[in-house]
């Protein structure tokens, strides 16, 4: 049996979680997930400004902080912290933790290959809308193929203490140690599916140990010290989900079910570069306090196409807010919204969308929110999006004047004008897998 922990569900997750995982009990592997779909484009811009950047900057200091424990306890780290510059990330890790052997997985970054792909007849149509990539070709900010667990396992086989990848799937981070230690082969679909589903359960960190859980949430103990998840993996594909003893949170069948369904599409066809996993084959069993056994998982052959994560510049947006108090807080907010829209209209400004929410009344649940006829206060929240930056900028100046020139009791403008933000959009597409060749390098 091997223990694989996940200490980071996204870039920005609890900084103490991975430190506690290496301190509070046994683990063999520490998986850390840093990349959301849009993160790559931000990293690409950082790399363009400075060729030594373009990776998750939280990662090297973390490794420096836990390096002694990693060595003492022979814990290996697998992370997609490399972003668009895994080698620079590895060099920084080596600088801060010179005793560790660091390997990088390369080959996912296809930003420089877009024109060659298009010229070879790969349309890379948007999987959601069907539009061809040529419509946004000049606005692409980053492009990466999702790679699977086998190249990561290859890096572990080289004896790396720290494996740094770019855009690999989140589930590959946990599956890789199983492939490496159990010798799983590329056609053992059931086992690969089991490891993939284990990875899916832990990829959002504490969301499978009691975080964001609806079942009896008030009774979940000591969430301030919540334990992050650990997979206890067996060579035959069975595994347990658990957490370290003495930590907060809860691992139960209900909790694991919630996470299994999180961000799930067709449950029979959970497609990864390594296999297609069938969520309708999963059997769960309570295996003691804070321990759930998972078994029965079936898989199917891996796809011929890999998914591309392409980010492109879409336009601009801004979201402004004002607060109105009772009495008639909602009516005042609605009146203010009408005034803003009328003034924008008079200026002849055009937006792709203007969207208004009344925070405290209907912002989260929209038309199905429980009616709140006389709330003590309401936050008016108006958002605009469009291609014309000047129009968005002008919008940001139209809210605060209402404090003096609109309905009474307007307040909550202390932060000043809202910022204009660039909208970077995500373009999912497919590419034949034979075009994506990965390599593994030990970084000296």
């Amino acid at each position: 049996m091997i223990r694989i922990a996940n200490g980071q569900g996204f870039w920005g997750d609890w900084l103490e979680a991975p430190v506690r995982l290496v301190e509070q009990g046994p683990i063999d592997y520490l998986a850390l997930d840093y990349l959301a779909e849009i993160t790559m484009s931000i990293l690409q811009k950082q790399k363009e400004a400075d060729p030594n950047l373009g990776y998750a900057r939280d990662f090297p200091p973390l490794i420096a902080r836990i390096q002694r424990r990693l060595v003492e306890r022979e814990i290996k780290v697998i992370a997609n912290a490399g972003g668009v510059n895994p080698i620079a990330c590895a060099r920084e890790v080596r600088r801060l933790a010179p005793s560790l052997k660091v390997a990088v997985v390369l080959g996912d970054d296809v930003f420089g290959r877009m024109d060659a792909f298009l010229a070879a007849g790969h349309a890379m149509k948007n999987m959601d809308t069907g539009e061809p990539l040529s419509t946004i070709r000049d606005r692409i900010l980053s492009a990466n193929a999702y790679i699977g667990a086998f190249p990561l396992a290859e890096a572990l086989a080289l004896g790396a203490d720290v494996v740094i990848a770019g855009r690999c799937t989140d589930t590959a981070l946990s599956l890789a140690p199983m492939i490496h230690r159990f010798g799983w082969q590329p056609e053992e679909w059931d086992k690969l599916a089991a490891g993939t589903i284990a990875g899916h359960i832990v990829e959002c960190g504490a969301q499978c140990t009691g975080g964001n859980c609806q079942v009896d949430w008030q009774s979940i103990p000591d969430m301030a010290n919540i334990g992050y998840p650990i997979i206890e993996a067996e060579p035959d594909g069975r595994f347990n989900i658990t957490k370290h003893e003495g930590t907060g949170g809860r691992v139960s069948v209900d909790v694991v079910k919630e996470q299994l369904l999180y961000e799930l599409g067709d449950p029979k066809n959970y497609i990864t570069p390594d296999c297609v996993a069938d969520f309708t084959s999963i059997q769960l069993r309570d295996a003691g306090p804070d321990r759930v056994q998972v078994s029965g998982i079936r898989g199917a052959p891996r796809p011929e196409m890999l998914k591309l994560s392409i980010a492109y510049s879409y336009g601009w947006k801004a979201i402004g807010t004002l607060v109105y108090s009772a009495p008639q807080a909602l009516e005042k907010s609605k009146a203010a919204d009408r005034i803003v829209r009328e003034r924008l209209d008079q200026l002849g400004l055009k937006f792709e969308e203007i969207y208004t929410e009344f925070f405290g009344v209907n912002a989260c649940h929209g038309p199905v929110a429980v009616p709140n006829p006389d709330p003590p206060e309401v936050q008016l929240r108006i958002g605009v999006r469009g291609q014309d930056r000047k129009a968005i900028d002008r919008f940001t100046r139209e809210l605060i004047p209402l404090v003096l020139s609109g309905p009474p009791t307007g307040t909550g403008f202390g932060d000043g004008r809202p910022p204009v933000r660039e909208v970077v959009a995500y373009w999912p597409a497919l590419i034949p897998r034979e075009l994506i060749q990965t390599t593994v390098e030990v970084v000296k």
Partner: protein, 110 residues
């Protein structure tokens, strides 16, 4: 009799682009047939009304006593495009649990 879905099920929701997914899970596996009968894709679409512009697809996971709903065009463009505070649909599962379903005393058990 009519009960809110929250009496027999819990839920978690998230996003994939402009599609929100809601996993609805029976607390007790014996109530799964009630879920499967009462909580159809059509009813979920009707419940959310103008909030969901596209179709609602349902997938069944009887092994987990659960249903997975995909609510298309439900997040104001989704991801970074959305102007909503809940651009990821994190709260839509909790909203759906207020939907009323029809169930008999014997189905509900005690």
């Amino acid at each position: 009799m009519k009960i809110p879905l929250s009496r027999i099920a819990h839920a978690r929701s998230g996003d994939k682009g402009d599609t929100s997914n809601i996993g609805v899970i029976a607390f007790d596996a014996r109530h799964y047939p009630v879920l499967a009968r009462e909580v159809t894709g059509e009813r979920v679409k009707q419940f959310f009304g103008e909030m969901v512009k596209g179709d609602v697809e349902r997938y069944d996971l009887p092994n987990l006593g659960a249903l997975n709903f995909l609510l298309h065009e439900a997040l104001g463009g989704g991801g970074t495009l959305s102007l909503r505070i809940d651009a990821q649909g994190k709260t839509l599962g909790a909203a759906l649990l207020r939907m009323e379903i029809e169930v008999s005393e014997s189905e509900l058990g005690s």
